[in-house]
Structures are given as structure tokens and as C-alpha cells.
């Protein structure tokens, strides 16, 4: 009774499962938002979702296109100013999980959303840091979800927008008042976690049907696998239903506006 699902769906469901009811999650737009709301609509109805626009404990019915859609505010417990959001709620230590996407990630889970190439003469200019640099250090831990590709998974990011464990894996050692950093990276192929000692990302679970070779081919460094590599549990029928409904609602909503 195996279900049909795409690798994107596998990624979203797996990312959603990383969240639970007790977490207060600072949600990045895009994949993290999809996963976080899927969690809320399935196994974690009481997970607290916070968006940097100031919406505290929001329960959108459709996924926001932007970080500040009206839906976020209207369904929130309350909406605070942006300085308050970053000062009291994030920097104040009230966020248990920062959930981020990225354009580039390296073996030490450093994140680059600034640019490809050289800073003064960029090949590709990306949007920039946004909330990520301080989400990465002030949240108690960080989850990252991103599609796996050689362009994205690079040995060393061109620019550290948001620190994972630094260029040498030691950036958080003895740093005061800093969160644990990235504890899991969820892609469309696998789950990666930092090695407890070196902090290098290693594959701990392969999604159903995914081979080691696929992961190796999609990773820009000599990727390591954990001693025991699990197989990620498949999405359930309910999870897929809820995810597909959410995406259909979302598409209809955003397309329907003029």
C-alpha cells in the first residue's frame, strides 16, 4: 500500500515532522513556512508560529506569499512591531526553533543568502540576510530545509550570511549566549545532521528510494554518511492530503487576487 508522492512532498512532510507542539518556531518564508503550517495542520496543532513581520502565534489558512500577508495578522494572537519582534521575542530568547531556507549551504551548515561570487562584483545577487543572521544565533536551535543540488550544497559558501558552525566548525565553541545552531537539514533526498564532534553535516537518513549515489552527486563536497543511515518514514495519506489541500488552497488564493 505504498503511496505516490513527489520528492518535494517527502521533503515538506519530513520537515514538518521535525516540529512539535511545544515548540515556538520563527518561520522563514517558502519551504519552512509550508512545513511549519503542515505540522500545525497535522500532528502539532499547538505549535507556535512566529513570522518576522510581527505576527505572534499565527494560524494562516493559506500559506502566505510574503512574510507579512494579511492572513498572518488576522489569524495571529497579536501583532507586534518589527523591533519588538526582533528584540523581545527573538533576541530575548523566546524562540525555540528558527526554521530557515537558503540558497547555499556548506558542510558546516553555514548559510549564504547574500550573493554568488565576489561581494563587490557578484555573479548573482541574492536577497540578503533578512532575519536569518540573528535567527541563526538567537533561536535555541535551527532547522534548515532546502532542495538538494550541487549548486546549493557547496563545500564552502561564497559568503556566510548566517553562521552554522563557521569555516572550521568551531564558531559556536565557547561563544556566550548563542543557540545550538543547525541541528537538522532536511532536503528532498535525505536528512543531514551535524557530526557531534566536527559539526560537519552527515547524512543520517535517506528518503525512501533515494540512493547514496544520488546524494553524493547532488552534494558539492565529499559527503559523509552516518554509521547507521535510516530510511525516512514515508508520508502518511493524511499528511499528503493535508499538504495537497494546503497548496491547492494557497494557489487558488494567490491566483484569484487581482
Amino acid at each position: 500500500m505504498s503511496l505516490e508522492f513527489t520528492s518535494s512532498e517527502m521533503m515538506s512532510v519530513t520537515a514538518a515532522r521535525a516540529l512539535n507542539n511545544d515548540m515556538t518556531c520563527f518561520v522563514g518564508i517558502g519551504l519552512p513556512s509550508e512545513a511549519a503550517n503542515l505540522a500545525r495542520l497535522t500532528h502539532a496543532p499547538d505549535v507556535t508560529l512566529i513570522y518576522e513581520s510581527g505576527t505572534l502565534q499565527t494560524k494562516p489558512d493559506v500559506l502566505p506569499l510574503s512574510i507579512g500577508d494579511g492572513e498572518l495578522c488576522e489569524s495571529a494572537l497579536t501583532t507586534v512591531s518589527v523591533p519588538e519582534m526582533f528584540r523581545y521575542w527573538l533576541q530575548g530568547g523566546k524562540v525555540s526553533v528558527g526554521f530557515l531556507g537558503t540558497a547555499q549551504i556548506d558542510r558546516y551548515a553555514n548559510i549564504n543568502t547574500t550573493l554568488i561570487g565576489d561581494y563587490r562584483e557578484p555573479k548573482v545577487r541574492l536577497p540578503g540576510g533578512g532575519g536569518a543572521p540573528e535567527i541563526g544565533t538567537n533561536a535555541h536551535e535551527v532547522f534548515i530545509t532546502v532542495k538538494h543540488s550541487k549548486r546549493t550544497f557547496v563545500k564552502d559558501v561564497d559568503f556566510i550570511t548566517t553562521v552554522g558552525f563557521g569555516r572550521d566548525g568551531k564558531a559556536r565553541d565557547n561563544a556566550p549566549n548563542i543557540g545550538r545552531g543547525p541541528t537538522v537539514v532536511i532536503t528532498d533526498l535525505c536528512i543531514l545532521k551535524p557530526d557531534p564532534d566536527t559539526k560537519e553535516l552527515v547524512v543520517t537518513s535517506l528518503h525512501p528510494g533515494v540512493t547514496r549515489e544520488q546524494v553524493i552527486d547532488a552534494t558539492g563536497w565529499d559527503i559523509r554518511f552516518a554509521d547507521q543511515v535510516d530510511t525516512t518514514p514515508e508520508p502518511s495519506a493524511k499528511e499528503l492530503d493535508v499538504l495537497r489541500d494546503l497548496k491547492a488552497r494557497t494557489n487558488a488564493h494567490h491566483a484569484g487576487q487581482q
Binding site: 513581520s53 523591533p83 528584540r87 561581494y119 540576510g129 532575519g131 564558531a171 487576487q257
Partner: protein
């Protein structure tokens, strides 16, 4: 006290070539009508400040209003790049754009410090990030009590801040409601301010702790119904997400952009 002016008059009188201008609204209440008026009046050499540049600055940059951009996230939210911004940064069209880049937390704190009359903001930020390497405005200080190293950035104190709000009463007090973002801070941090509003009413209908800007803290108010479109105004109209997606195609191409600008800003815009 705030002076009620036409948008044209407000922009003409209070925004000068070379000014440092902050136009805020965090996704919500983005002052597009004011941005278009600035384009029409062909303001030049502006230093533009905004946490999330968004389409309004993509348009102003593409129209040649800006020489410098101070920002923390420059994208079309949920869609992709700001192509006019990238064209200016990467290829200098229509003119070279200098950029100074922060994180949201730092900019939020910098506006907060500007509103609070301080020269700097202090935050637990930028740890391990390369941003301090490319932004010489980010420094670090030591806490005199704990010895902890903390980031410091100069406060934001624009010549002019421009925001859009739901409504003003006839005395010029303004209500901002919903995602209030950084608007209050932007206005209070600035030397001068222009507030566009959906409507002017007898009574704001504000709850007791609502975000209300008193008339005496504002320079000019201009009525501009739908003044935030394609952004939105809670209680008035929704975000035009379809246009945000459509913009990607328009802005990718210089000619398409200029045609759009001519048709929608120069020929059909304005009061």
C-alpha cells in the same frame, strides 16, 4: 502639527534631491503612491533606506531616483529577485547603485535607536556572519558589566520618512493598524515625515493602546486612497499577490519595465 497637503505638494516640498529617505511598511502598507510621485517628480541621488526594498524601491531604482540603498532583504517576497535592483547593482543600469547591507535585526534596532534619539543601536547580532566584513558601519563594543562583545550599528535618522497608514483624523493624528512593522520608528527617527492615508475621518476609532502617531509628530499628511497597492491596507483591501508575481516578468526586461513605468506612473498616475 501635521499639514494636510496633496501628495504632489508633500513630495515636492519635503523631499529634495540627495536626501536620505526611508519608506517603510513591512509588506503591509507600503507607500507605493508616494514612491510613484517621487518617480514622477524625478527626484535624484536619493539614499534609500528600507528593510525590505520590495517592488516600490525596484521601481524607484529602475527609474533612476537612487544612488545608494541601505537594506536588509532585497527580494520580491515569495517570488524571487528584484530585477531592477539587481540590474543596478550588477550592471549599473540606469546608474550605479551603492549598497549598504544589514540584517533585519540590526536595521530594526537602528530604526528603534533613531526613534529613541540615540546615535547607536546595540544588539546581540552578526555573530559569525560575513556582513561586518562588507559593511564598515557594523562595529562591536564590550559590555561594561559583563564583558560580552555586542554588535553596534549607527541609528537610522533619515531626512525624510514616508509611510502609508489607514487613516488620519481631521487634526492630523494617524492610526496604523495590523502589521505595524517599523512605521512608527521610521517617522519618529526622521527629521521630516510624510504620511499618506486611505482616508481622513472624524474619529480614528482607535483602541486604547493602538499605534497612533500624534499630529505634532508628523510633518505632512496626504490623502491617497489605495495608496499602498499592490501592497495592502488591513481593513481596506488585500495584497495583490498576482501583481507581485506579474512584476517578475515586467522587471526582468528594461524595455518592459520602462513601458510599464510610462503607462502606470508617468501617464496614468498622480493626482
Amino acid at each position: 502639527m501635521a499639514e494636510f497637503l496633496s501628495l504632489k505638494e508633500a513630495v515636492s516640498r519635503h523631499i529634495n534631491d540627495g536626501d536620505t529617505v526611508a519608506m517603510e511598511g513591512f509588506t503591509h502598507l507600503i507607500p507605493f503612491a508616494a514612491g510613484h510621485e517621487i518617480i514622477r517628480q524625478e527626484k535624484r541621488d536619493l539614499t534609500l533606506i528600507r528593510m525590505t526594498p520590495d517592488l516600490v524601491y525596484d521601481q524607484m531604482i529602475g527609474a533612476g531616483c537612487a544612488k545608494k540603498l541601505i537594506f536588509s532583504w532585497g527580494g520580491n517576497p515569495g517570488v524571487g529577485s528584484l530585477h531592477r535592483l539587481r540590474d543596478a547593482v550588477e550592471r549599473g543600469w540606469p546608474n550605479q547603485l551603492e549598497i549598504l547591507e544589514h540584517s533585519h535585526a540590526a536595521m530594526a534596532c537602528a530604526y528603534e535607536a533613531g526613534a529613541a534619539g540615540l546615535p547607536l543601536a546595540v544588539l546581540r547580532g552578526y555573530i559569525g556572519s560575513d556582513l561586518p566584513k562588507v559593511n564598515d558601519q557594523i562595529k562591536f563594543i564590550e559590555c561594561p558589566f559583563t564583558g560580552e562583545k555586542l554588535a553596534a550599528v549607527p541609528s537610522v535618522r533619515p531626512d525624510v520618512s514616508v509611510i502609508h497608514a489607514q487613516r488620519a483624523d481631521r487634526k492630523g493624528n494617524v492610526l496604523v493598524e495590523g502589521i505595524i512593522g517599523i512605521q512608527k520608528e521610521a517617522v519618529l527617527a526622521a527629521k521630516r515625515s510624510i504620511v499618506t492615508v486611505e482616508e481622513v475621518v472624524d474619529d480614528l476609532g482607535a483602541s486604547v493602546n493602538a499605534c497612533v502617531l500624534p499630529s505634532w509628530a508628523i510633518t505632512a499628511i496626504a490623502e491617497a486612497p489605495k495608496g499602498a497597492k499592490p501592497s495592502y491596507a488591513l481593513g481596506y483591501y488585500d495584497r495583490d499577490n498576482a501583481f507581485y508575481k506579474e512584476w517578475d516578468g515586467i522587471a526582468r526586461d528594461r524595455d518592459a519595465f520602462q513601458a510599464w513605468l510610462n503607462e502606470n506612473v508617468f501617464e496614468n498616475g498622480g493626482a
